[in-house]
């Protein structure tokens, strides 16, 4: 399957934190295609294991597979559905969105808005708070009561759209795009010798507190960890020190959360192969799986690469596919040399 098709399939499957079943199964299938063994654990962490030539060490990749979403918390007598957020949402993004409720049946709806004809001028200066937003399915109240229950997951009902110049927009790019990087690394590794065993892990429950990575790192006990997540991409009005440009390569993260020796190695490697990359500076651990990964078990030296992404936590998260391909190349080369690097930086 082409990279583009895999991206579409990954971002169009549903997997809110805690309800990752559908996305996990899609990912397991892709992993099993390109690795020796693939399975899902009881928390919906997905593993793809590719044996190395010597199997004398382990490198584990973590890329979270869960996405932000909503949960039904009230159904009123007319069948309108109210919800609470799972993960971080901007209420301004929610207005007028297409959603799909994962009830007994999958039910489509719209987050309601007031048409301009019925608004008072002062309404326009207000943001409807999350508690007042509701989902309208148009269906009869009886049908809703039968098929929807409090606690049901709600995802955005949107497809992946191809924009110009290798860009794509979709919900759940954060972080299915990261999972895509893992799959692309496996593809490259099928033609590249590596001594260590490679563990690709799609981790669960990142958006609610980086939990899946903690579980899986504890289980695998790798010698080296690699985290792949999205990072803030440039868009008009953003502070240039907080963002990186799309299309200029993936980012290598620097800061206390990341092993300085290995970070240095991967940067040098990218430079030697003349593959574009950018840098991000994270002065305080947090925000990605690296937070729990680094201090799991006896501690793991971790490095992190990021995919530049515009409009994070909206339904139109936008990225450039070239960045993903470049990252996969750098990371696969890193895997093939990791046993050597590990010796060089070992204390």
């Amino acid at each position: 399957m082409s990279t583009r098709e895999i991206l579409r399939s990954l971002t169009e499957s549903s997997g809110i934190s805690g309800d990752e079943f559908e996305a996990a199964e899609v990912i397991r299938k892709f992993f099993s295609q390109y690795s020796d063994e693939a399975y899902i654990d009881k928390f919906n962490n997905v593993y793809g294991i590719k044996k190395g030539a010597k199997s004398n060490g382990k490198i584990m990749f973590a890329s979270h597979l869960d996405q932000i979403g909503l949960m039904v918390n009230k159904i009123d007598k007319n069948g309108f559905i109210y919800f609470v957020p799972i993960g971080g949402h901007d209420p301004r993004v929610l207005l007028g969105q297409n959603v799909e409720i994962q009830g007994k049946e999958k039910i489509k709806g719209i987050i309601g808005s007031v048409p301009p004809h019925l608004q008072k001028p002062k309404d326009r200066k207000k943001v409807t708070p999350l508690d007042d937003l509701y989902i309208d399915t148009g269906l009869k109240a009886d049908f809703i009561k039968e098929n929807v229950s409090i606690g049901d997951s709600i995802i955005f009902d949107t497809s992946c759209v191809k924009l110009k110049d290798d860009c794509y927009a979709s919900q759940a790019m954060d972080n299915r795009a990261g999972v895509l990087v893992l799959i692309e690394v496996l593809k490259v590794l099928s033609n590249l010798k590596h001594n260590w065993d490679v563990y690709m892990v799609g981790t669960c429950q990142e958006e609610v507190g980086v939990r899946g990575a903690a579980m899986s790192a504890y289980e695998i006990k790798p010698n080296v960890g690699v985290v792949i997540d999205v990072t803030f991409g440039f868009s008009p009005g953003s502070n240039k020190y907080e963002v990186v440009k799309l299309g200029n390569g993936g980012t290598i993260a620097m800061g206390p959360n990341f092993h300085p020796g290995l970070t240095d190695k991967i940067k040098k490697l990218a430079e030697n192969w003349e593959i574009k990359y950018q840098e991000t500076f994270i002065p305080r651990p947090g925000g990605t799986d690296a937070y729990s990964f680094q201090i799991s078990g006896e501690g793991v030296p971790v490095i992190q690469m990021g995919i530049p992404l515009r409009y994070m936590h909206t339904t139109v998260e936008t990225l450039n596919l070239k960045d993903i391909k470049r990252m996969a190349k750098i990371l696969a080369l890193f895997v093939s040399e990791v046993d050597k690097y590990y010796k060089e930086v070992e204390h």
Binding site: N98, P116, G138, L163
Partner: protein, 346 residues
């Protein structure tokens, strides 16, 4: 019936650029009318004569334009600035998808990630001047090779049906366009309406009833009936204020007693009430007096008896509206029956 509405809803036709929807309607009409023409404004006319001499002329109208956007600039990083065409609340534009121009180039309207905002920022709507369309273009030069300033854009929304509920863009007023097409198709081979029907699909309603302004002079109709997709307000209101739910879903077609531009002609109002009752068609009245229609600029030219009949639609002027299948069917039914027995009015 639904296939037709689906085609109409999906077609591109922002006010001032109704080319695609006009062609789609023309194609669906051609076997059901005696002749078709367009005028310099872009209005589309279909004529169906009853064959009687000196027959009265009933003009049925619906506007085929929809709200949308117009591109008016490209930043040096290749993002597009735009203006609104018609009434759109900027708050509903955040995190939405659009299609631009003749080639339907996909674009998205993004927003700053929540992680990079101050808490105070979420409490204020994002103003128009901070919204832009992202087509993924690498830079200004690339962007200009894909689109041109002046291109129109519309929401990237596909028609869908779930149980007995229809979802789609531009039901205001592709619902009306659909009803008029059903009127023209609504007769058996040997049947006639007792009047000459002039069906007009107007342009530029959303920017000030422009297309309809030339109709009275051109066609000199005896009666005018406008078919609209109008606001259904039977939805929760956080402030619990009385919002006079304009119209309600599943309560049948709505007859307009009065809106901002017209008072429904009493004899026509009564005719459609009678028709509904005789045929067991549910109906309601539009309870708000806001909004205007094409009738406003027609009925005062010589004094032409006119009325508006609407299908209730939730979330008009937004990316996706909701309409009950039964309301749409009942509107078509009321329209066809009301015209079949139009002799009662004459």
């Amino acid at each position: 019936m639904i296939d037709l509405l689906e085609k109409y809803s999906n077609a591109f036709g922002v006010s001032g650029y109704e080319d695609e929807i006009r062609e789609v309607i023309k194609e669906s009409l051609k076997d059901n009318v005696d002749s078709i023409k367009t005028d310099f404004m872009g209005n589309l006319y279909g004529y169906k004569k009853c064959g009687e001499k000196n027959a009265k002329k009933v003009m049925v109208i619906a506007h085929m334009d929809e709200i949308g956007f117009m591109i008016d600039g490209v930043t040096k990083n290749g993002f597009l600035h735009f203006r609104r065409v018609g009434g759109i609340d900027p708050r509903i534009l955040v995190s939405k998808r659009v299609l631009i121009g003749k080639d339907k180039i996909p674009g998205v309207l993004g927003a700053k990630p929540i992680h990079l905002q101050n808490r105070s920022e979420w409490k204020k709507p994002i103003p128009m001047q901070k919204l832009y369309i992202d087509i993924g273009a690498k830079n200004q030069k690339k962007a200009k090779s894909y689109i041109s300033k002046g291109d129109y854009a519309t929401f990237n929304t596909k028609f869908e049906m779930q149980e007995d509920v229809l979802f789609g863009k531009a039901f205001d007023d592709r619902a009306g366009c659909g009803i008029i097409t059903e009127i023209l198709r609504g007769l058996e081979d040997d049947q006639h309406y007792p009047v000459d029907i002039i069906a007009v699909f107007t342009v530029q309603e959303e920017v000030g009833l422009r297309g309809a302004s030339v109709l009275a002079e051109r066609e000199k109709p005896d009666y005018v009936i406008a078919f609209e997709g109008t606001t259904a307000g039977d939805v929760p209101d956080p402030e619990k204020r009385d919002q006079s739910p304009s119209t309600q879903m599943r309560k049948g077609p709505s007859i307009t007693v009065m809106d901002r531009t017209t008072i429904g002609f009493r004899k026509l109002k009564e005719h459609f009430e009678r028709t509904a009752e005789k045929n067991n068609i549910p109906y309601q009245y539009k309870r708000s007096v806001t909004g205007g229609t094409d009738i406003g600029v027609i009925h005062t030219k010589g004094g032409i008896p006119s009325i508006v009949i609407s299908t209730p639609v939730r979330y008009i002027h937004a990316p996706r509206g909701i309409m009950a299948l039964e309301d749409y069917k009942n509107t078509a039914n009321l329209a066809i029956n009301g015209l079949k027995n139009f002799k009662e009015v004459l």
